[in-house]
Amino acid sequence: MRELTYLAAIREALIEEMTDDDAVILLGQDIRANLYGTAGFLDMFPEERIRDLPTSETACVGAAVGAAMTGLRPVVDMGSASFSFVALDQFISEVSKIHYMSAGRLKVPVTYRIPLMYNGGVGVQHSDRPYPMFMQMPGLKLICPTTASDAKAMMKAAIRDDDPVIVFEDTYNWSSRGPVADPPAPAPIGTAAIVREGDDVTVVGIGRTVAFALAAAGELADAGVSAEVIDLRSLAPIDWDTIFGSVEKTGRLVVADAAVSTCSAASEIAATVAEHRFEALRAPVRRVTSLPVHSPYTPALEREIYPDAGKITAAVRSVAKQASHGH
């Protein structure tokens, strides 16, 4: 099967959806000259559907909402997660709430791309991984595809979705290649994917930590520990059935999440399993998250703070070696 990079897969999704539906428009700072998937779109589509944004994130996030409420299907490229902070009110007060507060009279079919850029030496203010903040807002759908195929399938699904969807793109994956069928294998929003089967420990990954979890699983296999790796892929809704099913089999859970630990996706998954599948747990749940510090600029320190394969391996070992208790 042909292989595409993650970014090329997103580019295809955008082109297909824009071709299929005139209501789809693209908004973003530097989007016309954008090398991250949208360069050259001006030659393919009318100018008015490819709009460079001024650096006014609040107005732009909200404008997409208003456009979505009245018949368009905007896709907004936020550039980097840290730039969404100045517009958080629009996400909280408008994007996530309008459908509910209008009792469904107003629909908001809008898609936001939020790239996660970190471990790249861009410093304290530019390296955040704030998806857990968005998970706190009821009313949103949140995805974080990891493979090129899922990126295409889920981006298309996001644009067609009648609810607001935020696509978190771990930029570590942008240049990764993978097979993409035509049409891509389905990856419905709300589903996780078991990307490696195993019996001893369930490892849930998000974004780039999926690759780290797979690397860890390979290494652990050599040591006789069989890890099942789940690509969470959808942060809201979360596919609890897949996670619970795996934990019922393995009895052990490690969650890898590049956000800072406190009130993270990892915390949510660990808490939910400890609440709803406690009987299945034969060892403590473990979170492999970022250390509770801001991202320092210097690479000497920055690389230490995020999850990596080694930390995931250590966490899996720490629970796998525990004697089975059973309840």
Binding site: P54, L72, E94, M101, L106
Partner: protein, 341 residues
Amino acid sequence: MMARMQPATDDIRSMVGMWRQMLRIRRFDEAASRLLRSGQMPGVLHLTTGQEAVVAGSSAAMGPDDLLIGTHRNHGYPIARGGDLGPLMAEVLGKATGVCQGRGGEMHLIDPSVGAFFSSAILGSGLPVAVGTALTSQLQRSGRVTLATFGDGASNEGAIHESMNLAAIWKLPIVFLCENNGYAVTVAASYAVSVHDIADRAAAYGMPGAVADGSDPVAVREAVGAARDRAGAGQGPSLVEAKTYRTVDHAENLPSQPYRPEEEVASWRERDPITSFRGRLLAAGHATAGELDKIEQEVGEEVAAAVEFACDSPFPAPAALWEHMYADPSLNRPAASLSWP
């Protein structure tokens, strides 16, 4: 559902029609206030009292397919556009028959069927959304113009600046209407706003700015109408500032301390826009006292019927809690696997 009580002759754009709308707003608010004081509704009430001329005048200026996007103080717009009072009052009471089935409440009185499309109660936060509805109009060449209202307080929110700039660079069909009632809760605009006329800020975005007498619905209709025509003709946004005053407190049911001179309030109350516009209608021969009395009576009955409708309506059933979180209803309830034993 209640019957509409307005005879067709009372076009909302006519002189008498505007007066009727002002009266409908006033009586609606008075009735809502009575319901609040008698414990029949939750929360607080942001009344339009004193500002009805701005609402009726601007609503009259906008075309039938135009879109109005408002603020926390939004009772007036759906009413002035001719919306049914029953579902609006039911929303105030949090009833299942309310315009938003009780979800939105008194800060979100809307009626998309008459163009009162949406309102946001976070200051400034509705303007970006309004820029977006104008973007759709531009792309769809629909001719619809958006009216986005905000207060003097909200004029200091960053969202307003960003929205005006964005609308200006894209030449969007939108009219920004600042309802300057002189105060943000207790804080005077003369203290908090660094220019005398907020309309002057239009120049910062290369758009026209105009000040209108917010006690005069005709003046407001003219100013907003000119801006609407400009927007409709593809010439981009404008800013209109209507100088007005709320002759009641910021909100009913909020504790308050004196923050403005009693004489100031009294002098505005004396110049009540509904009373003075009534005088003008009579003086200019637009209507006879008998005709206006009849409207008073009709409005009284209409409001009484709306109150009855609202009071008689049921509250949403408990299960309704789970409705409308998502357009996809299967997601409204959490996964079954998350329930406790």
